[in-house]
């Protein structure tokens, strides 16, 4: 089986559903509090000119984060 795709790997313009996020990491807890919980659809709007951070759209709001955090967010294979 292939490893689950990560939010950090999602190309700009694509969207997917969050499958899993590890628990107990304060940075990820904050992202959850901003609405990125498993089962939510996220769309990558764009990447910054230097490749990072990435801008995403979740629940109608737009947020930017770095690959470092996005790499922990596993997506459901579409």
């Amino acid at each position: 089986m292939l490893p689950a795709p990560k939010l950090s790997e999602l190309p700009a313009g694509d969207s997917a559903i969050i499958a899993a996020m590890p628990c107990g990491r304060p940075a990820l807890t904050r992202l959850r509090e901003l609405g990125l919980v498993p089962g939510t659809r996220v769309k990558v709007v764009r990447r910054a000119p230097l490749g990072e951070p990435i801008e995403i759209c979740v629940r109608g709001s737009r947020l930017a984060m770095r690959n470092h955090e996005a790499a922990f967010i596993e997506l459901a294979a579409s």
Binding site: M21, G24, L28, T29, E33, E52, G60, S61, A64, H68
Partner: protein, 693 residues
């Protein structure tokens, strides 16, 4: 509770950028006071308003936050006020929760937490116009019925909904909200109840605290644990460990459960178009965040900003300086000579001018910051430069404050309030003085031609040397940012999470009000310290008096002059004599003072500020007793390197003291910067001498 108190206290709560300040201003009509919560740089705004029934209501504007699980001192203040844990602020009787309707789901998250605390809530759906423009339809009556609390749609900028809000505020709170906190597994509840018992015993929460209240203490993620007593911290960590052991990931599960409930709620009340149309924000971002145009447009905006604080500010600064020097001359001519006149003219008037002279830059910078924050462009800057800043461990929001410090560190440091990560903010404050500010220009202007006389070097070489000074400072700043990240700030990592709000037209009134507040705070809080320190330094270079002596002898015999002698052994390895020592000591007030002091020391007719030629000629003639010139090229270079690094500026010290709320950081900064300056100047001189220059 609200019936028994004649003046019920309402707290305004909401996510950052939801329009809270606009609503607070509209409600209070500027009958408000701004202060600080003791011990932190979190602003406390309280005000009054008259209800629709003519009753007086008290209002408090709490810091904007995404969650009650505190991650910063701001969020800790919000939590502690709502939990009634602060002695300086009573627990509010009712909460006005402001949600940005255009980001409804995320904004409802904070509402669920406030409801869990059992406080009566009025929900305001602000920015309803933005939501409507996106063709979102929110069923307000249904939302109100499902939550069991009043819900008021609002457009704060036009005042729509304000009367309805005041009406709701003057009606007594409905019995109890229908919202129930997410169902928790029984064993988790039992564990929480046990924790609550322990924390009550320790006195960390009120005895009548709701079941979930202690939760917000247990899940405190603020690295400084602001608002939590050291004595309670142990208990809290104990409770957290116990919970974590029996329910791994309980905190995250709770977030999931709240969002599940929010999704269910929104499915009932919120209708969004399936395919969102292309908005103005999308169109603008296509340019401002474009790989090429994004960078170029940012460069253009930054150049304009920089030009304005660097040169436009000079005009009013000139007015301030000439007005105060005219005032000084007038006092000089009207008063009998004596110590009092000297104190007034050279101490007080010059000191006040020294404070006010910062105002033009502060006003211009904060006006622009206000515009950029309000339009939404600020987040775009942070987005574009974040990668670059991350190489030294900072995030994109540190960019603008640091850039502004090239004009002047004082407004730059004040601007660090826009950085929400406390660690990044502190590091930016610590490195800001390394950006070569405009006060260093007179020093460079004096020393560069002394180092490279006209017949030896072209203007280009001189410009190159000047640029090198900027480069050294910048490199130093990045080096220390990196170093602090790896050492004193290690472990306090905070993720970069940036909200990308929709672009908006700026609300001028709000921007100007903000500029006014900043300027006011600067003059009142930092101004007094700057004034005090400059008077001290003035006194040190004036007393004790030598009757009948000329200025130069007078200065040499003053405390500062004697201190110059005293430190000669220390500065001699850098190639400086005691006269330069006096310059170093008196320019502790501000770097550019060096030039004036040296004119006095050498009894050179100081003439215009612009014309330092006589002084420069005099420097060239200065000799050590053995006949070597004092101002050798190497000494000039060593002096310039010293000024690149040394924290020769009492205003910066005062503002850092103000912005970090302690003397610890400004003193640390003074130590590390002056230490580095000394070491590097030493290396330059010694290595240079060794190499035979």
């Amino acid at each position: 509770m609200s019936e028994s108190n004649p003046e019920p206290l309402f707290a305004l709560v909401g996510n950052p950028n939801c329009g809270k300040t606009t609503i607070f201003n509209a409600l209070t009509g500027l009958r408000q006071k701004v202060a600080n919560y003791p011990g932190v740089t979190v602003e406390k705004k309280v005000g009054e308003c008259i209800s629709q029934h003519g009753k007086k209501l008290r209002l408090i504007d709490l810091p904007g936050a995404y969650s009650l699980n505190a991650r910063s001192p701001d969020e800790a203040v919000l939590r502690d006020v709502l939990l009634g844990r602060r002695t300086d602020t009573p627990r509010p009787d009712r909460v006005i929760c402001i949600a940005d309707a255009a980001n409804l789901e995320r904004n409802l998250y904070l509402l669920t937490q406030v409801l869990e605390l059992g406080l009566p809530v009025i929900l305001v759906l602000n920015m309803i116009d933005v939501a409507e423009a996106r063709e979102w339809h929110i069923d307000v009556p249904k939302l109100s019925a499902l939550l069991g609390i009043p819900v008021i749609p609002m457009q704060a900028t036009s005042g729509q909904g304000l009367i309805e809000l005041k009406l709701a505020m003057s009606q007594s709170a409905p019995e109890s909200p229908k919202w129930h906190s997410p169902p928790l597994p029984e064993p988790l509840k039992a564990e929480l109840a046990r924790s609550r018992g322990l924390l009550c015993q320790a006195g960390a929460v009120r005895t009548e605290a709701a079941l979930l209240e202690p939760l917000y203490l247990i899940s405190d993620h603020d690295p400084s644990h602001y608002g939590i007593d050291a004595a309670h911290l142990e208990r809290i960590v104990e409770c957290r460990k116990a919970l974590e052991a029996s329910f791994p990931g309980w905190e995250d599960e709770l977030v999931n459960a709240r969002y599940a409930a929010i999704s269910e709620l929104c499915a009932e009340v919120l209708k969004r178009p399936d395919q969102p149309g292309v908005t103005i924000t999308d169109k603008l971002d296509a340019v401002f965040l474009h790989p090429i145009w994004g960078g170029l447009s940012m460069l253009a905006v930054m150049s304009v900003l920089f030009y304005l604080i660097f040169s436009l500010a000079q005009v009013p600064q000139g007015w301030i300086e000439s007005a105060f020097s005219a005032l000084g001359n007038w006092v000089q001519s009207e008063m009998a000579p004596g110590d009092l006149r000297d104190l007034i003219v050279n101490g007080v008037i010059a000191g006040v001018a020294g404070v006010l002279v910062f105002l033009p830059q502060i006003l211009i910078l904060f006006f622009f910051i206000g515009l950029m924050e309000d339009t939404g462009y600020m987040s775009r800057i942070a987005f574009v430069v974040d990668r670059l800043m991350s190489t030294v461990g900072l995030n994109g929001k540190a960019f603008l404050p640091f850039l502004s410090s090239y004009a002047c560190a004082v407004p730059g440091i004040m601007a660090t309030r826009t950085i929400d990560s406390p660690k990044d903010r502190l590091i930016t404050i610590l490195i800001a003085p390394l950006a070569s500010c405009s006060a260093r220009l007179p020093v460079y202007g004096l020393l560069i031609p002394a180092l490279l006389p006209a017949h030896l070097a072209s203007a280009w070489v001189k410009a190159g040397l000047m640029l090198a000074m900027y480069a050294i400072g910048t490199f130093g700043a990045f080096f220390f940012a990196w170093l602090f990240n790896k050492t004193i700030m290690r472990g306090a990592s905070s993720p970069m999470i940036l909200e990308m709000p929709d672009y908006k037209l700026p609300a001028m009134k709000g921007v100007l009000l903000h500029v006014w507040e900043r300027a006011n705070l600067f003059v009142k809080r930092a101004g007094t310290v700057i004034l005090g320190l400059s008077i001290l330094i003035w006194a040190a270079s004036t007393y004790p008096k030598t009757p009948g002596a000329d200025d130069s002898t007078q200065l040499a015999n003053s405390i500062a002059g004697r201190a110059g002698h005293l430190i000669e052994p220390v500065v001699k390895p850098l190639g400086y004599d005691w006269k330069i020592g006096i310059g170093l000591i008196s320019s502790f007030a501000a770097r550019e003072v060096f030039v004036n002091t040296m004119s006095v020391v050498y009894a050179v007719e100081s003439g215009d500020d612009e014309d330092v030629q006589p002084l420069r000629n005099r420097l060239a003639e200065e000799r050590w007793p053995d006949g070597r010139p004092i101002y050798s090229p190497l000494v000039c270079l060593s002096l310039m390197v010293f000024y690149v690094f040394a924290m020769q500026c009492v205003s910066t010290i005062a503002i850092v003291r103000r912005e970090t709320n302690s003397w610890k950081w400004p003193l640390f900064q003074l130590g590390y910067l002056t230490g580095t300056a000394y070491l590097l100047a030493l290396v330059v001189y010694q290595v240079g001498t060794w190499l035979g220059y």
